[in-house]
């Protein structure tokens, strides 16, 4: 007999079916009736057990035992999905006799974060946790879909790299057959190089940051969704692309993840066709005028500044997204293209999502001479980035791109309080298990 899933019962009313899954909840009533909630990859359905012999066959089984069930599909208005299983018989595939580290069949997981993460192998089975990572998979899927539709090519760049030159600090070192190697902090150099090959490229892959910060917004390994494109006008071409990517992702999850969005109580973001934008020094002026805090001339925005700007964007433009453009060159990496009209500022941007930075991007330098000058101005040598530089000796178009942290996107979308809740098995300064 072909296996039937929980969400397929309506097509089998009155039939005998075979199901399989985890015993999500077992309610043994005094009246000699047992309700089993069976969880499979499609959802949960209820099984009503009344025959004493069958009830006895479940003796000693605890939640999460894996069973096969044969039973009759019966319409029942009270049941989730409108159907339940009667007159079941069970085959135990894997009996659980230990109590779970914490219950996973409640709407909220009542476990300290560390306890949860120590037992994430089991805790992730909770529907409310499953939903977060279904959403995460859908976001990555939609990111690729949108870019595939625009002629982008997916690339796989190396994560073990020979020099730690992109930013210098905060890289993990490893022993590579007796030589020193490093873990890539980002595919930045490689994705630029690959613009020379395919014009438009993207990558969804892990990146590694040895940042010694133990906060709710840091992970030392995360998934970076990177895109880079050639033949742009300037950073605004990249902003248009990013807007389409964000809106494409939201459309996709809106139509493919209805169940998860409800379960997680997600309020879908306001994402107008054009996201509002504000130029960095004007943002500082606005903050001064409206909140009395004089940050004019400072090289970066503080979290509180971003929060105020986010509120302003929402009230004024009905947008949960806001581009801040033109960050000062001193705070941007050497490959950043300056604003040709005022070279103190850059052709770069951050995208704020609900008042917190979600994406960084911009136009890059594309001429060898500009790189040579930029490196010299920062006291960096050409030798350290020789391969990367060679790319620009041999013809590179104006180009730019951006990187979206997948876990941060999920954290802000779902309104999670800790970035660790957006990674299956998060890595922080203290945690590399499980």
């Amino acid at each position: 007999m072909e296996r039937v899933l929980s969400n397929e019962l309506s097509s089998h009313a009155g039939e005998r079916v075979r199901m399989a899954g985890w015993m999500h909840r077992i309610r043994r009533l005094g009246s000699g009736i047992v309700f089993v909630h069976l969880r499979d990859r499609s959802g949960i359905c209820q099984i009503v057990v009344e025959a004493p012999g069958v009830i006895a066959s479940l003796d000693g089984l605890l939640a999460e035992s894996v069973v096969e069930v044969e039973g009759t599909v019966v319409a029942e208005a009270q049941a989730t999905g409108g159907y339940e299983i009667h007159e079941p018989s069970f085959t135990v595939l894997s009996a659980v006799t230990d109590a779970l580290p914490f219950p996973i069949n409640k709407p909220v997981i009542n476990a300290h974060l560390d306890t949860f993460l120590d037992h994430a192998m089991i805790g992730l089975r909770a529907p409310v946790k499953q939903a977060v990572f279904k959403l995460s998979a859908a976001v990555a899927h939609a990111f690729r879909d949108v870019l595939d539709g625009k002629g982008f090519t997916e690339i796989a760049t190396p994560k073990i790299i020979g020099s730690a030159s992109e930013s210098g600090a905060n890289v993990f070192a490893l022993d590579y057959f007796g030589k020193q190697a490093y873990l890539a902090q980002s595919p930045q150099f490689y994705k630029q190089i690959m613009v020379g090959v395919f014009e438009r490229v993207y990558e969804v892959a892990p990146v590694f940051r040895a940042e010694p910060h133990q906060t709710v917004r840091h992970l030392n390994e995360y998934v970076s969704m990177d895109a880079e494109m050639g033949f742009i006008q300037d950073h605004t071409t990249v902003m248009t692309l990013l807007t389409e990517v964000i809106r494409g992702i939201l459309d996709y999850i809106g139509s493919h993840c209805a169940q998860e969005l409800v379960l997680l109580n997600v309020q879908m973001p306001l994402a107008p066709q054009e996201f509002p934008r504000i130029y960095f020094p004007e943002a500082q002026q606005w903050i001064f005028e409206h909140h009395g805090e004089d940050c004019r001339g400072e090289p970066d925005l503080a979290p509180q500044h971003e929060k105020w700007l986010g509120e302003w964007a929402k009230e004024t433009f009905q947008s949960d997204f806001l581009f801040v453009t033109g960050y000062p060159m001193v705070k941007r990496p050497f490959y950043t293209a300056p604003n040709p009209d005022d070279t103190r500022y850059s052709n770069s941007f951050d995208l704020l999502f609900r008042g917190t930075e979600l994406v960084t991007g911009g136009q890059r330098l594309n001429r060898f001479e500009d790189y040579a000058r930029a490196l010299e101005a920062r006291g960096m040598t050409q030798e350290a980035v020789a391969s990367y530089l060679e790319t620009f000796r041999f013809g590179m178009p104006p180009h730019g791109g951006f990187a979206i942290g997948l876990e941060r996107f999920i954290m802000q979308l779902v309104n999670l309080s800790n970035l660790r809740d957006a990674a299956l098995f998060p890595r922080d300064m203290e945690r590399i298990q499980p």
Copy 2:
């Protein structure tokens, strides 16, 4: 004026268009005419330059210079695609004045492998190289498509891990905030754990192997396409899935990569609806009977054995793919499920593609007691794999899966002589640059 791509010229016959790309080839004829081959992400088109002033504007420009071109689209039967550009004017976006390390506009790249890899930033622009990585992106795309269609969920598992226990040897160690950590050799443990969450999962991500082998078939970092599914009958359920995945990939590239397959002269593999299969000891018996080599009782097949079996599968079953099932337990990892009818052999398989191993997979143990016994029999402690084992205390269905090395698939499909040609920036014992 909206930019037009090389492969869009037929829709613009007679019009003035704007194009942009790399000067792939510049032929300066003595007769006062210059032919420029312009390469963009869609292909190559020819530009005919006759006006002396325009010819002068190209003086000194070498191949790979990046230009914008305005010109008139003219039908020309001789030209690739049937159209070329006349009466052009050029804007130089990035002038190349150095000679390339080696020409990239020939059908074959004439560079020693090491020279090529040192300059891969530029070498990958050659159409014949581009085609390999377009194919690679399409294979990954199709892998995900097929599995998405079967209710699989994409996962992102950590690449930095706390213990080197899966195989013990050949892992890269790194300094993780003063502690020892390791790079994941495979997502094996995590994908099994995630079967407990989603039943069916896959991941396309880098893996890291510190194998000290400098051969044409080894890389120390590669892309692994992993799948794992629950509620299987045994390893044959996994083989059926893998067959559908392989056939789905071949269908996809057949219909989406026609140009690349022609350029790379790829002979599409014979992939019947069911791949032939042979049981390990019977394969050894067949080798003894047909090739006179007595390998019966040996725990593994040698490359020559696989080659003979591949030839047999092709001749007898018109299949470039062959499953060898039941590899001896002694050669399989501790989590492998034994053949219940003969526990010397396993419920596992290799898939040979054109006589070389491409995929390894099988059924895993799913009961805690079986893991406890398997670890004890191999002299391994439970402590070293404690988190992984906890998964099996709390209900796991019969499950299994497989891993396909993306670069190996491409190598065998395209008939490349070196696995390094199937990675953008390959990592081997000697190479971590560029």
